[in-house]
Symmetry: C2
Subunit: 201 residues, 2 copies
DNA sequence: CGGCGTTTTGAGAGAGCTCAACATCGGTGG
DNA sequence: CCACCGATGTTGAGCTCTCTCAAAACGCCG
């Protein structure tokens, strides 16, 4: 989640930085929870791997985001955290965070609000996965990620990454984007997609 | 979430009951949030409806569960709540809840833990939706919902309901269950499914 | 320039969806 | 008590869409 502002200065001071290479694991499912992590630089994927070896991306944390807030209340992590790029992650000891939450209702409230936002975000993603058509799934994504102008979407990574996030194969996504571009529903720019409000007939 | 125990007696006393008929809406996406709801009797579905009219079930709350915890921090609801059966729902005013959370760190902590559990549960469902094969999706569900004996799963509703929760058509689910039963992977009982550890060759 | 990952296009197959028909069960009312 | 009715449960057949496997063009970086 982007809003890490609830972290009080006293807690931030207790953070310990750790450097990760792309592909390196910050923690694995089942590991004992050490505390709260905050991405300082780079990006970290939260994933679960099923027995077929398929990766389900639960969340992609960018610089500023915190990771594993839910694990503060759990003895072990419930997913893998893998660096999506070279990254720097700051760890805050569990006890320090919990103490801060106990002490200051304002901090606690901000934390709860952040958890609540995560719940809403996860529900939105669950809704997205209920959409069967690749095109509609893309439309859903675009609608939720338009910028302030209401028509430009900035891609956070490669199209391949987006495919994983959307739960599509990259081929299917490429084809869908190509079709939509041909039909004038979208324009494809460098690292961006522009939605056209009215596709030309 | 099943754990509503964090609700202090003072707050519970402020609850106002409301009776819903099957299919009736408790609230709709976009409505102004009034507070926290707790299902006293019956079941309530949290759903989002896409433009194609397809319903994505985000959560099914049973008796004792609370609803819309996340909406305490949001001005409007972000999904629909529809009674899945005749139901009784108790509403707690937002201000009362927030005051209790502010006052008592223990309550706050219990609330945070519940939000955290919801996040984990949603992530598990997201993982489930990443499984393509109907059979593997059923297996995933069964594995996560076995009872204490490690092999019996109690169905909470109809098979049709389960199909919706799994994101499958009811036909596909019926067929999958039938196949699994024929091959001896499961046994189907009245309202229950029993997993067989070793399918006979 | 060579290598690697992304982007792109092609062809085929499989799995679930859709439409359709029918069986089954529980409740309701004559 | 039985006929009726609606919803659930069940099975069939065809189709569509995405996945899978394959191959090639492109772009970037050492």
């Amino acid at each position: 989640m982007a809003d890490q502002d609830w972290l009080p200065a006293a807690v931030r001071a207790a953070g310990i930085d750790r450097r990760l290479k792309a592909g390196q694991a910050l923690f694995r499912l089942g590991d004992r929870t050490r505390g709260l992590h905050q991405v300082m630089h780079g990006r970290v994927r939260l994933v679960r791997v099923d027995q077929a070896g398929r990766e389900a991306v639960l969340h992609v944390a960018a610089a500023g985001d915190t990771i594993a807030e839910a694990s503060l209340f759990s003895p072990t992590y419930h997913c893998d955290a893998i660096a999506a790029s070279d990254a720097v992650v700051r760890a805050y000891p569990k006890a320090v965070i919990l103490a801060a939450l106990e002490r200051d209702p304002k901090i606690a409230r901000a934390f709860m609000a952040m958890l609540a936002r995560q719940i809403m975000s996860l529900r939105t993603r669950l809704e997205q996965r209920n959409i069967h058509s690749a095109r509609d799934r893309v439309r859903h994504y675009l609608a939720l990620n338009v910028g302030a102008d209401g028509k430009t979407i900035t891609l956070t990574g490669t199209v391949k990454d987006l495919a994983v996030e959307l739960g599509l194969t990259h081929e299917a996504l490429y084809r869908t984007l190509a079709d939509m571009a041909v039909e004038g529903e979208i324009e494809r720019l460098k690292g961006k997609i522009r939605r056209r409000v009215r596709p030309p007939v």
